[in-house]
């Protein structure tokens, strides 16, 4: 067991397995798509989290990622473009006893659904967001997205984009996000661990998943995932541990002034003691933003997980408080409250 999942959602009386969540639907993603690995991680983590299988709800918007609900055997809602967040908000607010998961893509969440994305994060509603980031519009066949790098040549930017991309981590933290983690499709075990942490977090957890689109953006992350360079370009952070990476685990990140810097342990009299120890619970988001924005190496793992009251808890608490202090217990009480008058027969 990797820690405590709180008890507000009913647990399964019997142990569950991956098969309990396997769908009978034919999965219609392209062969080789990074989404398969994500699906697999989700199927592994749901039984591990241990809620009753009817308590999971998967909500999505539109796009390749948003076909997700059809491929998991849970209660599922396939919404409309960009609107998975408010749909899921309604589900969670109406029934806080459900474990709500949102599958979304870079276009769905940060272009058409950008407004909803920042507001669900701001409210800290207790839902889990799987943000499939392939830096391209796949389902509409290859247009640039809000995360496509400046200059990317796509079908709608044949001469290169002239738009600056969002960094999802920076956006999440900028929207007062309490949880941000990053995974990648080629590391399914890491992703499963991250998803478990996301489930544990009370509040909106955003998991950005770097995901390769084999058809329209193949190789977008090749500079990170190539076996030759992978260990030097990807760095996994763990709470309470110094941030080190590299084939020989001899590279580390230090805070120098107000910047993060990559150093080699043993060079220039740098020792392990100089290396920045990762604290995911720091309320001040400064270092978390710097980590989320690093490009070499790219940071994976849970970057930020800060406790804060959730919208759904505050809603339930407020209802309980007002119920206790109000003399109005039912609709008849309300209808007859305040200024009323009687008209009698003879009037």
């Amino acid at each position: 067991m990797k820690g405590y999942i709180r008890n507000t959602i009913e647990k399964s009386p019997v142990p569950l397995t991956k098969e309990d969540f396997a769908s009978d639907q034919m999965v219609r993603w392209c062969p080789g798509c990074g989404n398969y690995a994500i699906l697999n991680s989700v199927l592994r983590v749901f039984p591990e989290i241990g809620y009753k299988k009817e308590k999971y709800v998967v909500v999505s918007g539109i796009g390749c990622s948003s076909r997700f609900p059809y491929y998991v055997n849970t209660y599922g809602f396939h919404g409309i473009h960009g609107r998975a967040f408010p749909i899921a908000s309604g589900v969670k607010i109406a029934n806080p006893g459900l474990s709500v998961w949102i599958a979304t893509g870079d276009g769905d969440s940060m272009a058409i659904g950008g407004n909803h994305f920042i507001h669900i994060i701001r409210r800290n509603l207790d839902v889990n967001i799987l943000l499939f980031n392939n830096q391209i519009y796949g389902l509409t066949k290859g247009q640039y997205s809000p995360t496509s790098p400046l200059g990317a040549m796509t079908k709608t930017s044949p001469y290169g984009t002239i738009e600056h991309p969002f960094n999802p981590g920076e956006l999440v933290i900028g929207a007062s996000g309490t949880f941000f983690a990053r995974g990648i499709d080629i590391m399914p075990n890491l992703l499963t661990d991250i998803l478990f942490e996301a489930a544990k977090h009370d509040g909106t957890s955003v998991v950005e998943i770097l995901q390769n689109c084999v058809i329209f953006n193949d190789g977008a992350y090749e500079h990170l995932t190539n076996k030759e360079v992978r260990d030097d370009r990807l760095c996994i952070v763990e709470h309470g541990k110094p941030i080190v990476f590299g084939k020989n685990k001899n590279k580390g990140i230090i805070l120098k002034g107000n910047k993060l810097e990559v150093v080699t342990i043993g060079e220039n009299s740098i020792t392990m003691d100089d290396i920045l120890v990762h604290d995911q619970t720091m309320p001040d988001p400064g270092i978390h933003v710097l980590l989320a924005k690093m490009t070499n190496p790219v940071i994976l793992g849970v970057i930020r997980a800060v406790p804060a009251p959730t919208y759904d808890d505050l809603m339930e608490d407020q209802i309980q408080q007002v119920k206790q202090s109000s003399p109005i217990k039912c609709m008849d009480d309300l209808l007859n409250s305040g200024d009323t008058w009687e008209v009698t027969e003879e009037a």
């Binding site: 109406a94 029934n95 119920k323 109000s326 039912c330 009037a347």
Partner: protein, 612 residues
């Protein structure tokens, strides 16, 4: 004046007008409360600019509050004003056209100086130049008197100036022989938390009250109580009634009420009212936009709540795509559209019936849903209740059309008992049984509602077309056509459960008047007046727009060789709709798009023109 005999009245229309900072809404609501306690039937309508504080003494900054009360059944806030109470030159200028010839105009003349008169285009003072000789004009320096009175008692000038509306409240209370003590109680409720402010207002109220006794020419009346059916009553505005109707439906159905909504005039009061009622478990979600308002409500419905959203025309436009999603997923949903004058931002505080065709057809694809319309402020309660009932029992979105006029307006409301309202029984699926999302009841074609958390009913729904019964994603051409027809037929079959359309008046008359929604009061009163004059007319006022009641065709048939006129506050949308549903009829139109309700007089004149 105490020595003058008080005149009895049938019914009377009073309008309070002044600057938007003059406290007209407070004066109006206090006076109407006092009148309702006296046992009168009444209807009110506030008429104010959309600016919070418009520039002083300008025509567009005029704020008004109209009240119609009396001993007979009051259908509407009234067309023409019997008593105008006026606080500045701009409000006199803006409202004179609504005043009956011979009516009484009471004016606070403190601000009728050369500068302010010229500002609104008066070259001389209308109070003294004889231009108002058709009216009974009474003008007093009300504000000045308030200031003198207050400074004597060491109150500051500003508070005294502010209380001028309370002086008028005192005058009106005496003019209509309302109990002084009762109105003071109302003032205590309003100002009691600040004893000093209360004392000042009480003093000014009493002075205004006494002023009528010592001043000649001020007319005084006595009220006979209205013959209302026995029961308990309260005042209610349309928007409050809508909120309460939704709450009542949720309690009756044993469900939680969820409202996802974005503030928009003139619908915001529904969100504000529901936000007050956490004590009954109401969950309001002030969404980031109109789309989030409706989609959160759809999510809440999926999760087993009564999902609702409230908006006005521009917001309904933004919700179109999500309405299609609710049609496709066949979830219960109530969408309240408090219509305002459009298109675009239009005139936010002014009323219109311009969203009918949008409600009926404004979605991509074949996306029929139920549309119903409330007819008066108090009726909003029952219309919202019914909208929720049909949404829940027939698993369909329902658009409830009200409008700014009945939403802001108030009416005397006979308090119902929840036990007496019709049952609401949503078609819940049974846990641990074989469940197919689009398996339907053979009679009603309604699918079953399986709610996340229920054991053994996991399933997926969404905006993609699904196979009949099983609910798998499908692009099969014949299946799509079948599903399109099933969704339409499901909504059409609601008609089997609707009460028959009422026909009022003379069924063998020369003219059938058709109306719908918030125009009921004026149209019914016009028809009543014509019937009193032995003019053979009938009236069908529609509540159920889609589907129409099953006997609608039969009623039209009765008037096939006579005249039919459809009166509505748009360019003829209901008439257009009736033409598509019923061929071979000539539907005449009477339309108005001025942001104002019909007047009874204009309706009577128009209806008479059809009678030989």
């Amino acid at each position: 004046m105490s020595h003058v005999e008080r005149k009895p009245i049938q019914d009377i229309v009073i309008k309070f007008v002044g600057d938007s900072g003059d406290g007209m809404q407070l004066l109006g609501s206090l006076f109407s409360e006092a009148v309702s306690y006296a046992g009168e039937d009444l209807a009110t309508f506030p008429d104010f600019p959309s600016e919070v504080r418009a520039p002083r003494n300008t025509i567009f900054g005029v704020s008004g509050y109209q009240i119609h009360f009396g001993q007979r059944k009051i259908f509407s806030p009234g067309d023409r004003v019997d008593i105008l109470v006026c606080f500045n030159p701009a409000s006199l200028k803006a409202n004179l056209k609504f005043v009956k010839p011979g009516a009484t105009i009471i004016v606070d003349d403190t601000s009728f100086n050369k500068e302010l008169l010229e500002k609104v285009g008066y070259s001389s003072n209308p109070l003294t130049d004889g231009s108002l000789s058709n009216y009974h004009v009474l003008h007093y320096p009300i504000t000045k008197m308030c200031i003198e009175l207050a400074t004597e008692k060491n109150y500051d000038k500003k508070s005294a100036e502010k209380a001028k509306n309370i002086f008028a409240l005192g005058m009106l209370s005496n003019m209509f022989s309302l109990s002084k003590e009762l109105v003071i109680d109302l003032l205590r409720k309003k100002f009691g938390k600040k004893p000093e402010v209360f004392e000042l207002n009480k003093l000014i109220f009493e002075t205004g009250y006494h002023f009528v006794d010592i001043t000649e020419d001020i007319p005084v009346f006595f009220l006979r109580k209205t013959k209302l059916a026995p029961g308990k009553y309260r005042n209610i505005t349309g928007n409050q009634a809508t909120a309460w109707g939704l709450m009542a439906a949720a309690e009756k159905a044993g469900l939680q009420l969820f409202l996802g909504s974005y503030p928009i005039t003139p619908a915001t009061e529904i969100l504000m009212e529901l936000a007050k009622h956490r004590e009954l478990g109401v969950k309001t979600f002030q969404a980031e936009d109109e789309i989030a308002g409706i989609t959160s409500a759809i999510g809440a419905s999926f999760a087993g709540a009564l999902g609702a959203t409230s908006t006005s025309g521009p917001g309904l436009s933004l919700k179109s795509e999500a309405l299609g999603l609710a049609v496709m997923t066949e979830l219960p949903l109530v969408v309240v559209d408090v219509q305002r004058a459009g298109p675009s931002t239009g005139m936010p505080t002014k009323s219109e019936q311009g969203d009918l065709l949008q409600a009926l057809y404004g979605r991509n694809g074949e996306a029929p849903l139920m549309v119903i319309a409330a007819s008066s402020p108090a009726d909003c309660f029952y219309a919202a209740y019914e909208a929720a009932k049909y949404a829940l029992e027939h698993m369909t979105p329902v658009i409830l059309l009200t409008d700014g006029y009945i939403g802001f307006g108030s009416e005397v409301f006979r308090i119902p008992k929840l036990a007496d309202l019709p049952e609401i029984k949503p078609p819940f699926a049974t846990p641990n049984t074989k469940y197919y999302p689009y398996e339907r009841d053979p009679e009603t074609l309604v699918r079953k509602w399986a709610i996340p958390g229920m054991e053994g009913l996991r399933h997926r729904i969404g905006g993609l077309e699904k196979t009949d019964i099983y609910g798998e994603v499908s692009t099969d051409p014949l299946n799509h056509e079948k599903m399109v027809k099933l969704r339409e037929e499901k909504v059409r079959r609601i008609a089997r459960r609707l009460p028959p359309q009422e026909l009022y008046g003379n069924p063998e008359g020369e003219l059938l008047v058709i109306s719908w929604g918030g125009t009921f009061g004026q149209v019914r009163q016009a028809v009543e007046e014509l019937l009193k004059e032995d003019i053979p007319v009938a009236h069908a006022h529609f509540r159920y727009i889609f589907p129409l009641p099953e006997n609608t065709g039969k009623i039209l048939q009765q008037f096939k060789d006579k005249k039919i006129v459809v009166a509505e506050l748009n360019r003829g949308q209901f008439a257009k709709y009736l033409r598509t549903e019923f061929e071979g009829y000539t539907f005449h139109q009477y339309n108005k798009v001025q942001g104002h309700p019909f007047t009874v007089a204009e309706l009577m004149e128009n209806f008479k023109s059809f009678i030989k």
